[in-house]
C-alpha cells in the first residue's frame, strides 16, 4: 500500500509540471522540467477507463509521462491532449449491418459506419468481443476495430444479422 501511495505521489508530482502543445510541425510536444519530446498518446485502459491514465510515448516507444487525470493539466494542455485522444481512440462505429456471409475460413461483413460504408473480413473463429461499457467490438483481419455501441438499437435487419454474436 505504501508503495502505491508513493507511486501516486510521484505521478502527481510529475504531472504538475507537465505541459502539452501542438507545434507548427504538426506534432504533439510534451514538456516536463527541462525535457521536451514529441509524443503520441496511448490510453492505458481504452475501454474501462478511457478518460484517465494516458501514457505519453516518444518515438522510441518509451513512456515520457503518464497522465493519470487529465483534469490536473492546464486547460490548454488538456485541450491538446483531448484532441490527440480523438485520433488515438479512433475506431469505426457500425451504425448498420448490411450483409454478413461466410466463405472459406473468413466471415465477410458489409456495414455502414459513422465514417462511411465499409467491407471487412474476420476469421471464422475470431468472435466479437463483449465490451465493459456494453456493445461489441469486432476486429478484422487487418487489425481494424469496429464498435457496435448499442446493438439493441440498430434496425431489425442489422439486429438479426448480429444476433449470433450478441448474448
Amino acid at each position: 500500500m505504501k508503495t502505491t501511495a508513493y507511486a501516486k505521489e510521484l505521478v502527481k508530482k510529475s504531472q504538475e509540471d507537465l505541459t502539452l502543445e501542438r507545434r507548427a510541425d504538426g506534432r504533439l510536444w510534451a514538456m516536463k522540467g527541462s525535457e521536451e519530446r514529441s509524443v503520441w498518446v496511448r490510453r492505458c485502459f481504452p475501454w474501462s477507463q478511457p478518460a484517465r491514465y494516458i501514457s505519453l510515448r516518444d518515438n522510441k516507444e518509451s513512456e515520457f509521462a503518464l497522465v493519470r487525470e487529465p483534469g490536473e493539466l492546464s486547460d490548454e494542455s488538456r485541450a491538446f491532449l483531448e484532441e490527440a485522444l480523438v485520433e488515438a481512440g479512433f475506431v469505426l462505429k457500425i451504425v448498420r449491418v448490411l450483409d454478413l456471409d461466410e466463405e472459406v475460413e473468413i466471415r465477410n461483413w458489409q456495414v455502414e459506419t459513422e465514417q462511411g460504408p465499409r467491407s471487412f473480413q474476420t476469421r471464422l473463429d475470431d468472435w466479437p468481443r463483449r465490451m465493459p461499457g456494453g456493445g461489441i467490438l469486432i476486429r478484422d483481419v487487418a487489425g481494424d476495430l469496429y464498435h457496435v455501441d448499442q446493438p439493441g438499437e440498430l434496425d431489425a435487419r442489422s439486429r438479426g444479422l448480429l444476433w449470433v454474436f450478441i448474448d
Binding site: 504538426g26 485520433e87 472459406v104 475460413e105 465514417q115 467491407s119 473480413q121
Partner: protein
Amino acid sequence: MVGQHHNRRDEEIIVRYTDQPQRLPVELRRLIEAVWGGEPVQLYALADLDESLKLSETWVALGPRHLGFARRIDGRWEVDSVERAEIRGVHEAPGLSSTTLTFFGEAGRPSLARVRYTHRQRRAMENIKFVVEEGLAGRAVGSEGADRAYAEAVAGPIREAQALVAGNRMAVIWRLLSYLRPYRGQVVVGMAAAAVITLVSLVPPFLAGYLIDRIVRPVQDGTMSVAEGSAVAWLAVTAMGVVYLLSQAAALVRLRKMSVLGEWVARDLRTELYEQLQKLSLGFYSRNKTGSLITRMSSDTDRLWEFLAFGVVDVSLSLVMLVGLGAVLLSLDWRLGLVMTLPVPVFCWAIYLHGERISRLFLRAWRKWSRVSDVLSDTIPGIRVVKAFNQEEREKRRFGERNLDVTEEFNRIHHHWTLFWPSLMFAVHVTTLAVWVFAVPRLLGGGDGGAPTLSAGTFVSFLLYTTMFIAPIETIGQMARILNRATSSAHRVFEVLDTEPEIVDVPEPVRLEPVRGRVSFENVSFGYDGVRQVVRGVSFDVMPGEMIGLVGPSGGGKTTLVNLIARFYDATGGVIRIDGVDIRELDTGHYRRQVGMVLQDPYLFHGTVLENIRYGNPEASLEDVIEAARAANAHDFICRLAHGYDTLVGERGQTLSGGERQRVSIARAILHDPRILILDEATSSVDTETERKIQEALDWLVAGRTVFAIAHRLSTLRRASRLLVMKDGRLAEAGTHTELLAKPDGVYRKLYHLQSELR
C-alpha cells in the same frame, strides 16, 4: 512468374473484399508522374481517412525525388508534392484503429504533410515510411514494383486469413470429382448399384397393389380360383423376396465400393498434400499455422471422403428418386399424384430453411463453446498459478457460468429441431390425409351408386410410394449444406496444392561432390515482403573449416543470414556462392544434405532416441550411433534411461530435459557429418553445467567443418576464427575477438562490455 501470379491474386482479393481500388488509378499515376517531370512512381499507398476521420481517398505516392499526395476535389485529382530532400523525419502516431503519419521538415517549420489511415493501409504506408527513412539515412532501397508492393500489403492480411480467393463453387466440385477418374470403373459399379437400389425399391409397392387388385380381390369376389390365386400370389411374394435380396446386395456393393473408393481418393489427396508440404518453402510455413495444416490433412480429407463416398451418390440419386416417384405417382393416378407431389418443393425448402436456422444456432453455440474452451485452455496449463493464487473458487464460478450459458444455447438448438421434425412429419401426414380425403369418395364410388374410380390396390401402392418421399426430401433439403462443407474443405486442400514453392531447382542443377565448405556472400540483400529488407548488402568470404561467430543485437538479421545459407529462402539481391557456385544453381536436396543445424529448441520427432539420432542417416551402424552419442556427451545419460537408445521420446521430446534433447540433436548432427554446420543459439536455454557439456560436444562437432554459430553469450564463441557483427541487417563489423575489442566505438566492444558488467 510466381510474383505475377501472386500479384494477380492479391489484386483479385482487393477487388472482391475491399472497397478500394486494386491499384493507383492509371490516369492519376500519369498525372503524378507528369507533375514530377516524368519521374516514376516507385511506391504508393492509400490514406483512407481524412482530417475529420471520415473514410476518404487520398493517394500517397513516392518517387525518386518527390512525395506526392493526391486528393479528388470536385471530381478532379489535385496533386500536392513535396521534395524528398526537404523531409527531415517521419513521425508515426498509432491509434486503436488508425495511424497518423506526419512528414516534417526543418525544426520549427510547419509539417510538410500529414495523412491518416486505417490499419488496412498500414503495411503499404509503412513501406513508404521505411523507404523515406532509409533515404534519410543515406541508403537507397529498390522496390520490386509499386503495384505489387501495394497489392501485397493491402491483400496480405486477407490472403493470410483465407489463403485463397473463394472461386467458382462448381469448378471446385468438378476438380474434386476429377480425383475419381483413376477409379472410374469402381465409380460406375457403385453408381449402377445405387441405381439398382433406387429402381428395385419402386417394385414392392407396385407388387402390393398388383396382389390386392389382381389376386386378393378376384379371389374374394370369387372370379378367380383359390389355387390359381395362390400360385400367382406366391410368385409375387417370391418376386418381392428376390427384389429385397437384390436391393440389399446392391446396397452392399454400393456401400463397400464407394466407401473404399472414397478412402483411396482421400489417401491420394493426403499423399499429394504431404508431398506438396515437403516441397513448400519456410515462407509458407510462417504464413500458415501448424494446426490449420494438420486440419487440412485430417478433417478436410475426411470430409471429402464422406462427400465422395456418399454425398455425390446420395444427392444425385435422391434427385432421381424424387423425379421417379413423382412420375410413378402421377402415372398411377394423376389427381392424387398432384396432391402428393405439389407440396414436395415446399418441404425441401422448409428443410433448407431449417438447416440455415440451425447453422446460425450452432454458430452461436460454438461461440459460447469457445468461451468454455478458453477457460479450459487457460486453467489446465496454468493450474499451478491458479492454485498458487488460491483462485480455484473463482475459476469454478467462471467455468460454471460459461458452462450454463453454452448448455442453454444447445438446449435452444434441441428446442428447434425437436419442434421442426415432428412438424414436418405432421405436414407430410397432412398431405397423406389430403390424399385420403380425395381418395375415399373415389374408392367407395359416388353417392348415386356409381362404380369406384380408384382401385384399392392402386391406392395401397400409392400410399406405400408416399412413405418413400421422406428420405430424398431430407437429402435434397440438406444438399446446400453438403455442398458447402465439401467445397470449403476442397478449397483448403487445393489452396495448399496450388501454392508454388518459392525455392525451385534450375533444370540441370549442380551437385558439389564433395562440398568443401567455402561460403561467399556478395552484396546479399533479403526482404520477406519485397520492400523492407532484413539483410542489406552483406558481403563476406568464409573459407572451408573456418568457424564464424554471428553476433549482434536481436533483430539484426543473424537468423535470416543462416536461413539464406541453408537456402530456406533465396536472396532478393546479390549472390551467395558455395565453393564458388551460385547457391541457386545447386541441387537443393543434395546441398542440404551437406548442411547441418543445431537449433536453440531442438526438435525431436516422435520415435526412439536411436531413430532420432539416425534421422539424417538412417543406414548408420549402431557403432557409429554410439560414437556420435559419446562425442555429443549423450551416451551416458541415454544409458541411464531404462530403455537406453530404444527409449521413446514424446512429442517434441518431452521425456528428456532441454539439455538432453540438445545433446541428442548434436549427436544427430555429428552422425549426419555435414560440411557446413549452423549452430543457432545452441546453448542459450540451458544451465551452466549443461552448457559446459554441450560446449564440449560442440567442440568435437565443429572440428574440420565450416561453422556459423549464433550466440548471445559471447563467451561461447571463444573458438571462433572470426566474428561477424550484424546490426540492422547490415554487416557492421568483422574480425577476430581481439580486433573487434580494439575498436573504440565498436558494436561488439559495447556488447562485450555490457555482458561483462552483467556477469
